[in-house]
Amino acid sequence: MQTQSFENEPMAIRALEKICWMLALAGAAVLIALALTTVVSVLGRYLFNSPVSGDFEIVEIGCAIAVACFLPYCQLRQGNVIVDLFTLKAPQAIKNILDAIGCILLTVMAGLMTWRVGLSGMDLQRYNDQTMILQFNTWKAFVIIVPCLGLLTLAGLVTAWRSLKGKHGVDPHLAAEQE
């Protein structure tokens, strides 16, 4: 865990860090649950001719939720790859400013997505959009996804602030090591 180096940060940021970490774990737990469901469904299909009905829909919705849960944590760990070849020799202060600008642009991207996807979720609720087989109300997934995008927006701001102060989540090569 890289959190140790951020111990002196304001309470709010530490709370955000913790929430995003827990969300990441929760997202992974969702993935594992999806994996189990699919395995049961495939075994059911071949052995007993009775797959879990709507297993594709479960995977689609679950996967969307899991990935959304990963996004804020990924940004807090500076997991979004950058090209650093052309700025290797630049002074640290310049790099910090450029990194902060990058994070701000990411904040804009995340903010736009939060807004638009949020609206889309509201539309789906109004039209009572349902999945084909399970008749699951799609908007319910948005209740989790949209706040995750909101957290991504916040994470963008936090990383911008950290970059300005010269604190880096991790070095980009280390982040890529996990690829």
């Binding site: 990441a24 774990l25 997202g27 992974a28 993935l31 999806l34 994996a35 189990l36 699919t38 395995v39 495939v42 594709f56 995977v59 689609e60 919705i61 996967c63 969307a64 899991a66 990935v67 849960c69 990963f70 996004l71 944590y73 990924c74 940004q75 760990r77 997991g79 979004n80 790859v81 950058i82 090209v83 650093d84 070849l85 052309f86 700025t87 290797l88 790099k95 450029l98 600008i101 990058g102 642009l105 990411l106 804009v108 991207m109 736009l112 997505m113 638009r116 996807v117 889309s120 539309d123 997934a141 948005f142 996804i145 995008l149 090569h173 982040a175 890529a176 090591e177 996990q178 690829e179």
Partner: protein
């Protein structure tokens, strides 16, 4: 302004943002959005942003990506790499340069479970480097063979990048995986031959290791069985059409998870696997989201179609065009990561490839080009200045200077180029299994 001109301007803008340390995903998103507005207007962009992110996150064909990533992250803690290296070492260890050959063999086998080069290099490096140090291997050979061996991770299925290539070009993932098989095998063989030649020129670089008796060979082979079963179920299941790739990957996740649990994975390692999956999955989906909007914009400018038509009508020899594309990949590969490169360039290059006549059908050309492009893109992982595999291995081998590692990689680069030439000259090597089995 004409569409293609706006397209060109926005591509340049995107590259500038990227070179100024803006995350690649964000560079694509920002320049793509601005382009989209100038071509189609603000309202269509806002409409696109409303529906596209969710359809991307909830895409069934993409759901295989987080599953494979989770499987790979669990595999790094499942004790698999140790067993694989031990088995390869039991057979090759007593040869000259045997530990390097065994590492490459181990990487190839680990690559059959993990879809990532860096993870393959790092996991195998942790097991193999201490052994190589014990036998006084030169830093160049030790780190070079592991960094190169790591690139087998992405080539040998499962491979995240091949999945994504198959999705953008609307190809069958099973066929792509099948096509990667022989090139992956040739790659591993080529690297092993490279080591053998290297230690004949520099005998002190890689002395022979311990001899092993028949009992150790059998024990070591037994240790590989779980990994072999995983591979047969996951990849074999996809080849045989028993499951969709996502279904296969879920079996892989559960299997690797059980194996990790059996080998006593602890709480920290488990958390590390899960959060590691979160970071890499998040990164890949962010790039996908950015690339999506960029490509939606590019399509509207007609730039890719125009370019394909111009080049198709120009009468340039198809091979020349292919060489130029590959050369561009080599150069870009020194700067960018492979996934972003594929996502950015395939929408532009793929129509060109399809417009040219290589004496193959459109589907065969697509598969063949995908494999060759993947190999060339991956070469960037072991070339200076930002060969990530080399960095990762070099970090593990603390006492080896960076320059040594890059020197050690050079012979393997030569082997890469020879392999690419062979695969270009004989498309049937790549297509053989696909032709036979479909």
């Amino acid at each position: 302004m004409s569409g293609p001109l706006i397209g060109t301007l926005c591509i340049s803008g995107m590259l500038i943002l990227m070179f100024l340390r803006v995350p690649i995903a964000v560079s694509m998103f920002v320049s793509g959005s601005i382009g989209y507005i100038s071509v189609a207007g603000l309202t269509p962009l806002l409409g696109f942003l409303k529906s596209n992110p969710y359809s991307q996150l909830s895409s069934y064909s993409l759901s295989v990506v987080p599953m494979f990533l989770l499987m790979g992250h669990l595999a790094t803690h499942a004790g698999i790499s140790k067993a694989l290296f031990r088995a390869a070492n039991a057979f090759f260890g007593s040869w000259r340069g045997g530990l390097s050959i065994a590492s490459i063999g181990g990487c190839a086998m680990f690559g059959a479970i993990s879809g990532s080069s860096l993870a393959t290099a790092a996991t195998m490096g942790k097991v193999a480097l201490p052994e190589m140090k014990r036998f006084n291997y030169s830093g160049a050979l030790a780190t070079g063979s592991l960094a190169a061996g790591g690139t087998l991770g992405i080539l040998i299925p499962p491979s995240v990048i091949l999945v994504i290539y198959a999705i953008i070009t609307e190809q069958n993932v099973a066929k792509m995986f099948l096509a990667a098989f022989i090139p992956g095998f040739i790659a591993a063989l080529g690297y092993m031959i490279t080591v053998s030649i290297y230690v004949r020129i520099y005998p002190e670089a890689g002395p022979a290791g311990d001899k092993t008796d028949a009992k150790e060979k059998i024990d070591a082979l037994i240790g590989v069985i779980p990994a072999a079963i995983l591979f047969v179920v996951v990849i074999g299941g996809i080849y045989a059409g028993v499951f969709t790739p996502t279904e296969a990957a879920t079996f892989g996740v559960i299997g690797t998870g059980l194996l990790a649990w059996w080998n006593g994975i602890n709480k920290e390692e488990m958390a590390e696997s899960l959060t590691g999956t979160a970071v890499t999955t998040g990164m890949i989906y962010m790039i996908l989201l950015g690339a999506n909007i960029f490509n939606a914009f590019l399509t509207q400018t007609q730039l890719p179609q125009t370019l394909a038509q111009v080049i198709g009508d120009s009468g340039y020899s198809p091979m020349l065009v292919l060489m130029l594309i590959l050369l561009m990949y080599l150069i870009l590969g020194c700067v960018m990561d492979s996934l972003s490169m594929i996502l950015l360039t395939i929408p532009i290059f793929f129509p060109i490839i399809q417009a040219l006549d290589f004496g193959l059908g459109p589907e065969e050309a697509a598969i063949w080009f995908g494999i060759i492009a993947l190999i060339v893109v991956e070469v960037g992982l072991i070339t200076p200045p930002v060969g990530l595999n080399v960095f990762v291995i070099n970090k593990l081998a603390k006492d080896v200077p960076m320059v040594e590692s890059f020197k050690g990689v050079m012979p393997f680069l030569i082997s890469d180029f020879i392999r690419v030439a062979i695969l270009i000259a004989f498309p049937s090597l790549t297509l053989y299994l696909v032709r036979v089995l479909y």
